[in-house]
């Protein structure tokens, strides 16, 4: 192909062009196999309740990490309060099921929409903030919401929590919640891919790279940012609703735990922020790391220390995530691990 023709090559390509070619193709093929494995997992003979439970947790985390990636990864806004949306989804679903007597799916929808609405209402003012201010404002809102949910006893049940009905038939509940989470996580991947090929996706990346320039180019940055925030709320809200019905119990100090925000950010960072598959794979990497470390350091009460140490190591050595190593763009060596320090130290 001559240079001239290369220049003419259209930017948009169809879904299946060279999809399974080269190293990227191999990885995509492996990922597809992995998804197929996940899809048939409950029918495999070794799929005990424990594994189903663990995978459901991982998939819910993956879904939330994918959601966080919209605002934190693509748009570049360090949102630290996404657990608020998880809590909104959980409470929305729980209250709709108990107070309104609705069945699960409409309740889930109500919970997720409530989370989205909250994200839009809060997002319009706080997305004007930049950097540290935005980050702390989101932490503050999430903490405040947790406290309000905890003390508004007449509406939320306060410290007594909300008890939800069990899934019926109960012997299929493990499978049901597993598939709900898988659907949510895969749906999140498709949503990411869908948006990235649209103007919205380009707007997000443009905002991350230079918000003023994006504004000058005629991008409605407010709309794009609020959409990113609302969509991340949608993912976390749905995850919260599923989680609430799965555990059949909603308690403020449980569903507004700041650790959940940390976990989703860490999953996204481990996999690679601003990539489609990063947060999904990161959620698995995160759980494997945690499980291995808890296994080798069997001190249950030091769980948080282990989590913190992982965060510190990741931030110092691989803040761009492990996706570059997996996809072969970078080789694992002392040099590549020290690259981050060489770039950013003083």
């Amino acid at each position: 192909m001559s240079d001239r023709e290369k220049k003419k090559a259209p930017l948009q390509y169809s879904l299946f062009d060279g999809l399974f070619q080269g190293r990227q193709g191999v990885l995509l093929g492996l990922f597809t196999l992995f998804l197929i494995f996940l899809a048939i997992f409950p029918f495999l003979s070794f799929a005990s309740g424990f594994w189903l439970n663990t995978l459901t947790l991982i998939l819910l985390l993956a879904a939330m990490a994918i959601g966080w990636n919209f605002i934190g990864g693509y748009t570049g806004y360090a949102a630290f309060g996404n657990v608020a949306f998880f809590g909104f989804g959980a409470y929305g679903t729980g209250l709709s099921m108990t107070k309104l007597g609705l069945s699960f799916f409409p309740s889930l929808l109500i919970g997720a929409l409530a989370a989205m609405l909250f994200a839009i209402v809060m997002g319009l003012p706080i997305l004007r903030l930049k950097g540290h201010y935005f980050a702390i404002a989101t932490v503050a809102i999430a903490t405040a919401m947790g406290e309000i949910a905890d003390s508004w006893t007449s509406f939320t049940g306060g410290a007594a929590g909300i008890t939800l009905p069990f899934f019926d038939p109960i012997e299929w509940s493990g499978q049901f919640f597993y598939y709900m989470s898988l659907l949510l996580a895969v749906g999140g991947l498709l949503l990411t891919w869908f948006i990235l090929n649209r103007k919205m996706g380009y707007s997000w990346i443009a905002i991350r790279e230079d918000e003023d320039a994006a504004n000058m180019m005629g991008i409605n940055t407010t709309w794009a940012k609020v959409m990113a925030f609302a969509l991340s709320a949608l993912m976390a809200g749905l995850a919260g609703g599923i989680y609430a019905y799965w555990k059949t119990f909603v308690l403020a100090e449980e569903v507004f735990k700041i650790e959940y925000t940390l976990q989703m950010i860490l999953a996204a960072v481990l996999g690679g922020t601003g990539t489609i598959f990063g947060p999904f794979i990161g959620a698995f990497i995160y759980y494997i790391l945690i499980t291995l470390l808890v296994f080798f350091l069997p001190v249950g009460q030091l769980h948080a220390t282990i989590l913190g140490t992982i965060i510190i190591l990741v931030m110092v050595f691989t803040p761009k995530g492990l996706m570059d190593f997996i996809s072969g763009r970078k080789k694992i060596s002392i040099n590549s691990l020290l690259e981050n320090i060489r770039t950013y130290r003083v």
Binding site: G131, A144, A304, G308, I311, I312, T343, Y344, R345
Partner: protein, 290 residues
């Protein structure tokens, strides 16, 4: 009774504002000079409080005498943390340093809970309960002393920053890092020194808090958020601004505690969000210490 509660509230707020100013000053210089939000600030404060507690419980050292000890220990700890950990990634995007200090906080709190248990503890010297009355209003001696010590430490910091060569080097680094480097300021050491000053002040505040209030390993997080709110209220990196912000915040906190006890933190946080919305860059919005 209402008016008594009101006047007592005013006295409490003024006494509280001194300690809060001390907490916020350390946070403010680290933010202003290093441009990082030190989320581990409250955890260092907690360790300072525990140093005082153990020195008092094990060796019977008076809490006010242990103030320099806890500050010195945490100064060294802070210096090492900044020099050999945070300095490694200090120029990375916001998310990295934010998560790094967050992780530090988690680790410190978890280790403290593991070794010292999560119980509430208090430092109880003989004079702990003493105080004097102004009419019906109670003023405990320890809180009054804490108030004045906070003011003295804040003043000393101001003198250090304004009149010493090292203090000027720190300020210069905050204003223009390249120009400071050209003038021969050693940036890594200066950063470490600034952070160490921040943690030492946090530890000092922790010591003073431990004399008046019970302590536990999770006490710090609330102070980190308060420090942040105060910095936003008063403007980043100016000592008078931080003092003013502390007074405003102390009044909000004390009176929302009287009127809406269960929503105390929520109200403080909503005030923060409100201020940020009205003035998105903070009230003063200066990017360095001066």
């Amino acid at each position: 009774m209402e008016s008594l509660q009101f006047t007592q509230g005013i006295v409490n707020a003024i006494l509280l504002s001194g300690t809060l100013a001390l907490v916020a000053i350390g946070f403010s210089i680290v933010w202003g000079i290093l441009n990082i939000i030190n989320l581990a600030h409250g955890a260092f404060l907690m360790v300072g409080a525990y140093i005082t507690y153990w020195l008092f419980t094990l060796y019977g050292i008076d809490p006010f005498l242990s103030l320099p000890i806890s500050m010195a220990i945490m100064f060294v700890v802070g210096y090492l943390v900044q020099r050999y950990l945070i300095n490694m990634v200090i120029r990375a995007p916001l998310l990295v340093t934010f998560l790094l200090t967050f992780a530090l906080e988690i680790v410190i709190i978890n280790l403290a809970t593991f070794f010292w248990k999560g119980d509430l503890r208090s430092v109880t010297p003989d004079y702990a309960g003493l105080g004097f009355s102004l009419g019906n209003v109670q003023v405990p001696y320890v809180r009054l002393a804490a108030f004045f010590i906070s003011l003295i430490l804040t003043g000393l910091l101001h003198v250090f920053m304004t009149y010493t060569k090292t203090g000027n080097a720190i300020r210069a680094t905050g204003m223009d890092i390249d120009a400071a480097r050209l003038q021969g300021v050693r940036i890594p050491q200066t950063y470490a020194l600034t952070y160490a000053l921040g943690t030492a002040l946090a530890a000092g505040a922790g010591t003073l808090i431990s004399i008046s209030f019970p302590i536990d390993p999770t006490m710090g997080g609330a102070y980190t958020l308060r420090a942040f709110v105060i910095c936003v209220l008063g403007g980043l990196g100016s000592i008078p601004g931080v003092m003013m912000g502390s007074v405003v915040f102390a009044f909000i906190e004390v009176f929302s505690g009287i009127w809406f006890p269960s929503l105390k933190d929520a109200i403080a946080l909503l005030v923060l969000v409100l201020v940020l919305i009205v003035r998105p860059s903070g009230i003063a919005g200066k990017a360095f210490y001066h």
